[in-house]
């Protein structure tokens, strides 16, 4: 790897230049994170009058709480669901666009649009379409004999939040896949075609392996997205229900902290989440960025 070095004549200038970035990081990340760690060892009433230091009480309580275990399971299912659905559909769309020579620009532009829709708005749109009382999709599903009711069926609710969350992410994945596909040398694909490989064979033996750096990158990004960035969608559609069937870790932090005013437990959950993010980032940098290179 090539390293770039810039030499500064003054010793203070480089520090001065990174100062704004450091300030942002400290104020908006390190300081709140430290607060969360501190709060996770305290038990406090909502107004903050009585504070007791309780060591790891919040942690032991959290890990013996069956609803937290449930939330963990829900998050895993949800993250896998969102990652798989959005990656597969994005790849299919990208392949389709890659084949069209004319008007691929138009398709690309149109397919990116959903990314511009605010998640809360997207959530409301899906909520409307799937609403068991007034929605169009439950009405259509009733013709094929499926009784859709995400206000009671945890399965339906999970499907709903996965679809609503994936929809937006498809655009993002799509862009990366299109770029990745365009970077694959046409000569390889053509050579394989001349050797008699059909479209499926070409895809699975040439295109897909060559796309794997993009795919791995997107897998991590999508997992992080599903775990931490889907609050608005869940809030607008199911609010964690029914019976906690879509109560992901992030949503639970909000519910326990902001609705339930149980700040200690909420802070503890944030610390656990922080550890998960650090682990995921670590995997991304150490493992993927180094090993998946062609």
């Amino acid at each position: 790897m090539q390293t770039k070095r810039t030499l500064f004549r003054s010793k203070t200038l480089p520090y001065l230049l990174i100062l704004p970035q450091m300030a942002v990081t400290i104020i908006f990340f390190l300081w709140p994170a430290a607060q969360a760690v501190r709060q996770s060892f305290l038990r406090e009433d909502a107004f903050g009058f009585k504070t007791t230091f309780v060591w790891f009480d919040n942690y032991t309580q959290l890990f013996s709480d069956p609803t937290y275990e449930n939330s963990l399971r829900v998050t895993v299912v949800f993250a896998i669901g969102v990652a798989v659905l959005s990656l597969v559909s994005a790849l299919v769309l990208a392949l389709a666009v890659d084949r069209t020579i004319r008007s691929s620009q138009v398709y690309t532009t149109l397919l990116v649009w959903p990314y511009a829709v605010a998640p809360a708005v997207a959530g409301i749109l899906w909520w409307f379409m799937f609403n068991p009382t007034i929605g169009i999709l439950p009405y259509l599903l009733s013709f094929v004999g499926y009784h859709w009711d995400h206000s009671l069926s945890g399965f339906d609710a999970m499907i709903l939040v996965i679809i609503a969350s994936s929809w937006k992410q498809i655009s993002y994945n799509f862009l990366f896949f299109v770029a990745g596909l365009q970077a694959i040398p046409k000569s390889l694909v053509e050579a394989a075609a001349i050797d008699g490989a059909g479209p499926y064979k070409r895809f699975f033996t040439i295109i897909f392996p060559l796309l794997s750096p993009t795919t791995f990158f997107l897998l991590v990004i999508n997992t992080v997205y599903a775990m931490f960035d889907t609050f608005a969608v869940i809030h607008a559609t199911t609010q964690g229900g029914p019976a906690q069937a879509t109560n992901t870790l992030v949503y639970k932090v909000f519910q326990d902290g902001f609705i339930g005013l149980n700040i200690g437990s909420s802070a503890t959950q944030s610390v656990v989440l922080m550890i998960i993010v650090i682990a995921l980032t670590f995997i991304q940098f150490r493992w993927i960025e180094r090993n998946v290179q062609y």
Partner: protein, 441 residues
């Protein structure tokens, strides 16, 4: 260039506004009344501001009840709290325990010398917000109680008497069957607020305990106990009725889908807050609406007792200057006047908070002109409240409400029986209540 002048003007305005308003003491009031109720509230405030020139009340809509409450608490922690905040009844336990944060209303009135007589207020309402020594801690503003609405046209079509609402749950079942058999409507009944209507009020209405220690009024060590056999029977019935189509579930919390089911004439009977009245009358297009009291099981001794309230009260927060509190007291005095209360009650369907407001309504002939408008108050005051029907007061109750919804959904999904679901509510709820007790003792 023009844009710049505009900007400069805007900046100058923002700098100057506080200076202009400084002559009057500004009183911040955070509330949770959206839509038509919010507009009414603002007009009440505007009338108050016009009526005198010392104080200016500034109402701010902060979103839903939980949002308003948490916003006020967060603001208090940051020393940016409003003078007055509207808190819903399930937040009462939390507010009462926060002794250093709230300025009890009885104390405020005494300190400022504002005329104030707790006896003017309806006992059934005030009892909810009074401490064990009989002191009123917050000012009741909007209190309601669940009642039963029904579709008179559907009743007629089904061959039922449109002027007789179902009295008992047995009636609800047989009426519903008749309605469905005659195809007058697809479903018998639906309900808003499973937690509030079909469990808490259900218990009070049948004179059954919601929790120990007089439903939590006695102290922080109270625990939930509404998993009795009659509540379990009722929940089992709801499940059975859902299965055969008599009952349709309207969703968690307030039950957003319940209203539309009634408006679209899909369900003939609808149980919800008396404050839904205005909304229901506005949405009931093409049919007549009747009102009745909540149904009860005729074989349960002591039923019907009296129903309990929901809604919100106004809490005064500590940490402001003396002249602010003088203004708050003056405003509260205005807000409790018979004219304002009667107007608010008649517009919204909330209960009249004072005896005088109720009497004023009678004098105006309001109840004669609007039959059914006084069902709520009659139901609330049907019998003198017992230890089981005064209300309820538990910490962390916002989350307990959520647990009730979750377990009810498990019941409807067929995962649990009524008894199992209620036992789970009590077990999980008591853990939260114990946690609250630990944090506040």
């Amino acid at each position: 260039m023009k844009f710049r002048t505009l900007l400069a003007a805007a900046a100058a305005l923002t700098v100057m506004t506080p200076a202009i308003a400084a002559a009057k003491t500004q009183i911040q009031w955070w509330h949770a009344m959206g839509g038509a109720l919010g507009q009414k509230l603002e007009s009440i405030v505007a009338n108050y501001n016009k009526s005198q020139d010392k104080y200016e009340v500034v109402p701010t809509y902060k979103g839903s009840y939980p949002e308003t409450m948490t916003a006020a608490i967060a603001a208090f922690r940051a020393h940016q709290q409003p003078d007055i905040v509207q808190v819903y009844e399930v937040g009462t336990g939390t507010m009462m325990a926060a002794k250093g944060a709230v300025y009890p209303v009885y104390q405020l009135m005494k300190d400022t010398g504002e005329p104030f007589n707790p006896k003017d207020y309806l006992a059934a309402v005030v009892g909810y917000y009074t401490d064990t020594h009989g002191n009123m801690l917050s000012l009741p503003f909007n209190s309601s109680t669940p009642i039963l609405y029904y579709n008179k046209d559907v009743f007629k079509k089904a061959g039922l008497d449109p002027n007789t609402p179902p009295k008992t749950w047995e009636d609800v079942e047989s009426f519903s069957k008749k309605i469905m058999d005659s195809h007058a409507a697809k479903c018998g009944f639906t309900t808003g607020w499973i937690s509030w209507v079909q469990l808490e009020n259900f218990s009070a209405w049948h004179n059954l305990p919601i929790g120990t220690e007089e439903n939590g009024f006695g102290g922080l060590d109270a625990r939930l106990s509404f998993n009795g056999p009659i509540q379990a029977r009722h929940w089992n019935n709801l499940k059975k009725w859902q299965d055969n189509g008599i009952f349709q579930y309207g969703g968690p919390v307030g039950g957003n889908d319940a209203g539309p089911k009634f408006y679209s004439q899909e369900c003939a009977i609808y149980m919800n807050s008396s404050a839904s009245r205005a909304d229901i009358l506005a949405n009931a297009k093409g049919f007549q609406v009747g009102v009745g009291m909540l149904p009860y099981y005729s074989d349960v001794k002591g039923a019907p007792q009296n129903s309990i309230i929901g809604g919100a009260t106004l809490w005064v927060l500590q940490g402001k200057d003396k002249d602010h509190y003088k203004g708050v007291a003056d405003f509260f005095h205005y807000l409790s006047s018979a004219e304002v209360q009667a107007d608010w009650h008649q517009f919204s369907g909330y209960l009249p908070i004072t005896q005088a407001a109720y009497e004023l309504g009678q004098k105006q002939g309001y109840y004669a002109k609007n039959p059914g408008a006084d069902v709520a108050i009659k139901q609330m005051t049907l019998n003198p409240p017992t230890a089981n029907s005064k209300g309820l007061r538990f910490g962390n109750y916002v989350q307990v409400r959520q647990i009730i919804d979750e377990e009810f959904q498990s019941l409807l999904a067929g995962k649990k029986t009524g008894q199992e679901a209620l036992d789970a509510v009590v077990k999980r709820g008591n853990e939260l209540i114990a946690e609250f007790q630990k944090a506040n003792e």
